[in-house]
Symmetry: none
Subunit: 469 residues, 2 copies
């Protein structure tokens, strides 16, 4: 570490950051903090170089970089001067806290929060390289790339993905990019159902769907789950659509049987209803072959397919998609324009590149292996140490397991005790439309290492010790 | 222009781009095109400098910049070498169509489409640099940076922006980042109103708001606009909230008078109603001082402030924000989690950096100057060549003007004729809640150069020739 008295700037030659970048960063910081006021002159390159013990060209590089960034201006013969930071003086910024206040709780999930990918496994470096490549080679693609319905390359990549992974043949223009799958599901409801229409929702099911239905003034017809999957509604129920999770029922796990799928498709054709297939986590199967999508069976005749990158890739990019039959394209496009498009263009080109380069699939394979180990550990622990309290079915898929409780234990009660000792568990009964016999605990395993799960399992055992009712 | 035979690189000293940046750009292009293959050596700095007739330090600056960007590597004594462009080969893409099919109409707007920034003026290069810098310096910030309610640096930058530009003192934890202002407005409705509640909407007003209200099963109480702005509703109307555009009424233009603002705030306090201030384009004022926000008057007691980056920056990033009173923070946070967060984390750190570096404000100044010239041209043309058909009020603000028609012309009729000849104009009467006396044309001027507007104005005149009823 060298210290120069003037500007007290320190250079660390052991880190990877080039020296000129370290100098840039330090000067930038001083200017933003207001230590280097507008109009003040920077030391001459030769003097500064000697002071810091670096070559003069390093200083020139740093200064020129800051000129390009708009921090400094240079005039032939008169050296480098600090520019105004915009017409607004940023030094007068209000005394805002520099770190999230206590009002903002940290968002790191605790075991056994469900449906959360482990973002610590995210390939940050490869992703950043991919994004940087878009920045260099095609800056405009950061903000566009096709239409406002989605970057064209991404829609082509999704088309390829669906063909390879889900058995769905969809042309790119049938695919609309959305701000995640909740946005996609909402667009489906808006495009296909009006106030007071009846829609079918699985019970137990995904609670936000009921929330949407309520917020949109829709009537809900419950579709209870039996051993074959959701039950087909009677024709008399006059449903406009049914939202299903055939590949992996949420929250119970398990796939809809082929016969039940056929029954549902027949029902949709006969009643002119739509099936919305919410295929939220089909990439995570730990054994056997992938379960083909229902939209693939049907070749998108009466089915609309909703996919998401939130679970398989990143939950903060907020990207999903909806795949619609040819004859619904115009209706969905109008709905998207009427209610406003919410998907950011910014990640789309990079994601398309990430998919076509294969890096995306390497990532899926990598996390699936890790999630598989975590799942194995959790299932073994539950079978070994919790057998007296209940049991699990092993569906070989997904991001969470349901631990079904024996009579005598209440899932809401155990979940509450668990929350009190810092263990994040949801009661299965909370996913039902109304009063239900479901009595189980949802345990997510993807977001946590075995070392993180272990103490939580010990704490959970404590919740059972005094938890029989 | 100097040409060097080797690499055929040309330098233009008359443009504003620094010489070192021109050299960087040219080399970058050759490397992406594959003309400079991986592993090939660049000419020694001294030789290249002589060839180009520039100083050696300019060449060093350019080379070092490319090292920092990952294009070149440098080794003591062995000069600069071209790196592999990523560890991934991009050539294995599937054989999907490479261009949008005819099913996907191009989205370039035609004159006089309104509310559209001209993305050709967007500082793509600076933005890409800013994003690339995040990729290099903090790859994790591409996907996070605080909580799911918004990147903390961005919320701090917005807090500073609101204080300087809008007179609003809001702490970062009061600010939630949303997927644009439509998302923000929807979150407000969901957080503050239930099915069958009554809300106040301006008429004429923003049509999607009526659409949301309908989709959410809300009752609408119309707030007609007079010379002072929207009219205060009677207490008996029992509104839960009113959505207002006080800085610049949409679509008429014009600011709400200070007295009317006070009346509205008093109404809100007395009836326990909320005011949602939709401040959609306040950055675009072409004369005088900015109109302070109503939320600044009230210091966020009964007002919720909605802002957007779509008009002032880019309509494809899909970023906006909502600023809420302290006592609504928990309610908004719950609503956001219940209905799902839709704002992508990806652009947030870069936007924060763009704002704090001042580049954002330089961009606003630049486009405002251009938009001002376009606006001047359109107003002058309308006053000079269209006086027999109607008149404009000059509100010195916004992204569109309203041309009020004389009796004898019908706005829907003229707009329809205009659409038929490729001129994109909206009839003012379409913004009203029901039948109305409004009779005018909305002409957006931001998205089009004077050269592009000229033929459209000629075509528009033709629509009047046979357009009296």
């Amino acid at each position: 570490m060298k210290q120069t008295p003037w500007l007290a700037l320190s250079i660390d030659r052991k880190v990877n950051t080039p020296v000129f970048e370290q100098i840039c960063a330090a000067l930038r910081e001083r200017m933003i903090a207001g230590d280097l006021a507008q109009g003040s002159k920077l030391p001459p390159t030769r003097v500064f170089a000697t002071e810091l013990g670096v070559s003069r060209s390093t200083i020139v590089t740093a200064y020129e970089q800051l000129v390009a960034e708009g921090y400094l201006s240079s005039q032939q013969g008169s050296g480098y001067t600090v520019c105004a930071l915009g017409e607004v003086e940023l030094s007068k910024a209000p005394a805002t806290p520099k770190t999230p206040s206590e009002a903002e709780p940290p968002s790191r999930p605790r075991p056994f929060a469900s449906s959360q990918p482990d973002m610590r496994l995210f390939p940050h470096r490869q992703w950043a390289k991919c994004v940087a490549r878009v920045c260099r080679s095609d800056p405009q693609a950061l903000l566009a790339g096709g239409s406002d319905l989605g970057n064209w390359d991404l829609r082509c990549a999704i088309s390829g993905h669906l063909s390879e992974w889900r058995g769905i043949k969809a042309a790119p223009h049938q695919i609309f990019v959305t701000a995640g799958s909740t946005d996609a599901l909402e667009i489906c409801l808006r495009a296909l159902a009006d106030k007071d229409d009846v829609i079918g929702l699985e019970t137990p099911g995904y609670p936000p769907m009921r929330q949407f239905a309520k917020a949109h003034g829709l009537q809900v017809h419950d579709l209870p789950i039996d051993d074959h999957g959701a039950q087909v509604p009677p024709r008399s129920a006059r449903l406009k659509l049914a939202v299903l999770t055939p590949s992996h029922q949420y929250p119970l796990g398990g796939a809809m049987t082929p016969n039940r799928r056929q029954d549902f498709l027949q029902w949709a054709r006969k009643t002119d209803a739509w099936i919305i297939e919410d295929d939220y986590d089909s990439e995570f199967r730990y054994a056997g072959r992938p379960i083909p999508a229902m939209a693939g069976f049907d070749q998108l005749q009466r089915t609309i397919y909703v996919g998401s990158f939130s679970k398989v890739f990143s939950n903060t990019l907020r990207l999903g998609y909806v795949v619609v039959p040819e004859n619904l394209i115009d209706r969905f496009r109008q709905t998207l324009h009427l209610f406003g498009i919410k998907a950011s263009a910014m990640p789309q080109q990079a994601l398309a590149d990430f998919m076509t380069s294969g890096e995306f699939y390497r990532h899926i394979r990598r996390v699936r292996r890790t999630y598989g180990e975590r799942r194995r550990f959790l299932l073994d622990s539950l079978k070994r140490d919790f057998a007296e309290f209940g049991h699990v079915f092993d569906h070989q898929a997904g991001m969470q397991v349901i631990f079904h409780l024996k009579p005598g234990f209440s899932d809401t009660d155990i979940a509450q005790r668990a929350q009190a000792v810092g263990v994040d568990i949801l009661p299965l009964s909370g996913f039902a439309a109304g009063p239900s016999d479901d009595n189980g605990l949802m345990l997510g395993f993807c977001g946590f290492s075995i070392d993180e799960m272990q103490p939580s399992l010990v704490a959970l055992q404590g919740c059972f010790d005094d938890g029989s009712v």
